[in-house]
Amino acid sequence: MLRVIVRRLLQLVVTLIALSALIFIWLRNLPGGPVDALLGERATPETRALLTKALGYDQPIHVQYGKFMQRILTGDFGNSIRTGDPVIEVIGRAFPATFELALAAMVIAVGLGIPLGYLAARWRGRSLDHLTVVGTLLGISIPIFFLGYLLKDVFTQNIHWFPPSGRVGIGLDNTNITGFFVLDGLLTREFDAAADALWHLILPALTLATIPLAVIVRMTRASVLDVLNEDYVRTAEAKGLRHRTIRKRHILRNALLPVVTTIGLQTGALLSGAVLTEKVYNWGGLGTLITDSITGSRDYPVLQALILLAAFVFVVVNLLVDLSYAFIDPRVRVR
């Protein structure tokens, strides 16, 4: 068990190092690289050379990379070209917004997806099942940014249920402690602020939840259908166990094992989707930061750090999921 963990951790480190090296080398060797980004295309060769030297870009690439890795390990990702602020601060400011959004989306996707998938499987071939199957197919076929605009149009323009964009309403004094606005509101007992933040969160979270929700529903449905055919469910029925017990202990306990892996993989969909969703709802998080750092002049230090962060989060989450698997499935345990 321990050996598996160590091996996976090593693999993770290797993957991240390789990724960072690739991005680092690539970014520095492209036309329109960081120097151009800073100076614009009309700068004289002299200023360009000066800046190149100042930034250390004249040194051999492996030296640059070594220094880069050194700085990264101390948490120094350089400064944003756009604002001049340290990258780590820029990201730190935007992180809670995205985390809050992604968490809300995941809560929706899992909280709605598993019951829906289970019910669809139990009532296979009936109208709820058909509806679910068609709904999830649509969910994975619709570009989510379009869905975002659609929801925004219906719920903010036609019927004014939700605010159109942003994280807080105008005129609400919001005390910022953690950066998670809903949590902040609760901590400071400003419940109107918490409610307002939650209010702003719903539509973006729904939009972002679309794909994970569809995937989790489909996976749960398929998995429950498989389990329903298993002999041990028949044994449980033959024992005369209560419906509740059979559902919880014998069907879901087994059917959710593959769903757990799926949930881990959906972190990817959340990270990708956040970029789109945040743009639709003007949500000042990491996704917006990515969009800002690639459109117009490119903010390479920020972009680089964001890509590494995304890869880190995605890989670590999936590693945790795989490891947790060993604890929830006794067949994987100690071998």
Binding site: L30, S141, P143, I294, I307, V315
Partner: protein, 337 residues
């Protein structure tokens, strides 16, 4: 008295002669004959292609597959015959439309322009019809390039194993460490300026590791399988085992994945356009660009600019997904009967 079973042309089972009951036994013989003929029909063509034919038969009975195939068929037909179907040149700006363009107004349906104007005074319907071409082009090319590179990776890894496999798989690990759209964004961002080709290549590369892993997995599974072991035992050369036995079988799964990828590719291309990383050529009509760029930009002025290309994308994506999943179901040995 006749011997009924031999009369039916069966290899008669060992049985004692002289049995009571003449005429009725002929009925038995007829039943046997009918059953045998049925069996013969069912097993005819049981050879190398029978599994494929089997899958095809199951596919034809699946309504989801039929709907999917019909959608794709129509989509391809529209793309091919776009110049014949479209009422106007998709690039031409019409004075009668441009004259009515304003910051808060994009003209809707008028005489000769059934869906109205786009944001530059061009015929929206013609652009949608021509858009099928570019969308098909982007989707198919991105998928094919991704498939080609991925299959090459996967085949090499699967055929050689060992350190080659190890290195190639670590490379895919790195690529898979980034969620799809983020990888595509990164790739486009790495190119100095975006074009239609950066979009195609970005979407293609995102799919490389998926195809590579799929093919490798399938080939590894086959290396241990009976028919490959049998071929090896017969002294068939390694190269021909890989090319003749392992690759064709593994390709079934790859083709299914490619069908599913087509839908993802079209949506990903649209997402890139939405993020401002799409094809900057505004003359070219492509659904993803129409939706992701002008569609959402003018959503409050005239949402139809988004609705139509979005609907087109959803329907086509649905078509590929339906067909792809029906195919996957059809080749799944679990569903074989």
């Amino acid at each position: 008295m006749t011997e009924p079973t031999t009369q039916a042309g069966t290899p008669a089972p060992r049985r004692k002669d002289e049995r009571p009951g003449g005429g009725n036994l002929n009925r038995l013989g007829d039943r046997k004959k009918a059953r045998l003929e049925e069996l013969a029909r069912a097993s005819s063509g049981k050879g190398g292609v029978s599994l494929f034919r089997d899958a095809l038969r199951r596919l034809r009975r699946n309504p989801a597959a039929i709907v999917g195939a019909t959608i794709i068929g129509l989509f391809v037909l529209v793309a091919i015959f776009a110049p014949l179907i479209a009422p106007h040149d998709p690039v031409q700006r019409f004075d009668e439309l441009t004259s009515k363009l304003a910051a808060d107004n994009i003209p809707g349906p008028t005489d000769g322009f059934p869906l109205g104007s786009d944001e530059l005074g061009r015929d929206l319907l013609s652009r949608l019809i021509y858009g099928s071409r570019q969308t098909l082009f982007v989707g198919v090319l991105a998928t094919l390039i991704g498939l080609a590179i991925g299959v090459l990776f996967g085949a090499i890894a699967g055929a050689f194993g060992g350190w080659v496999d190890n290195i190639l798989m670590r490379v895919t690990d790195v690529m898979l460490a980034l969620p799809a759209l983020l990888l595509a964004i990164t790739l486009v961002a790495l190119a100095s300026r975006s074009s239609q080709w950066t979009v195609i290549m970005a979407v293609a590369i995102v799919n490389v590791p998926i195809f590579a892993r799929l093919l490798r997995g399938s080939m590894l599974a086959q290396r241990e399988s009976d028919h490959v072991l049998a071929a090896r035992a017969l002294g068939v050369k390694q190269r021909s085992i890989v090319l003749r036995h392992m690759l064709p079988n593994a390709m079934t799964a790859v083709i299914v994945q490619a069908t599913l990828t087509l839908s993802v590719a079209i949506i990903e291309a649209a997402s890139l356009s939405f993020l401002g990383l799409g094809d900057p050529d505004r003359d070219r009509a492509e659904w993803g660009a129409m939706l992701g760029d002008a569609g959402v930009r003018y959503f409050e002025v005239r949402p139809e600019l988004a609705y139509y290309p979005a609907l087109a994308i959803i329907v086509v994506a649905l078509g590929f997904t339906l067909l792809g999943e029906a195919m996957r179901e059809a080749i799944d040995p679990k569903n074989r009967r």
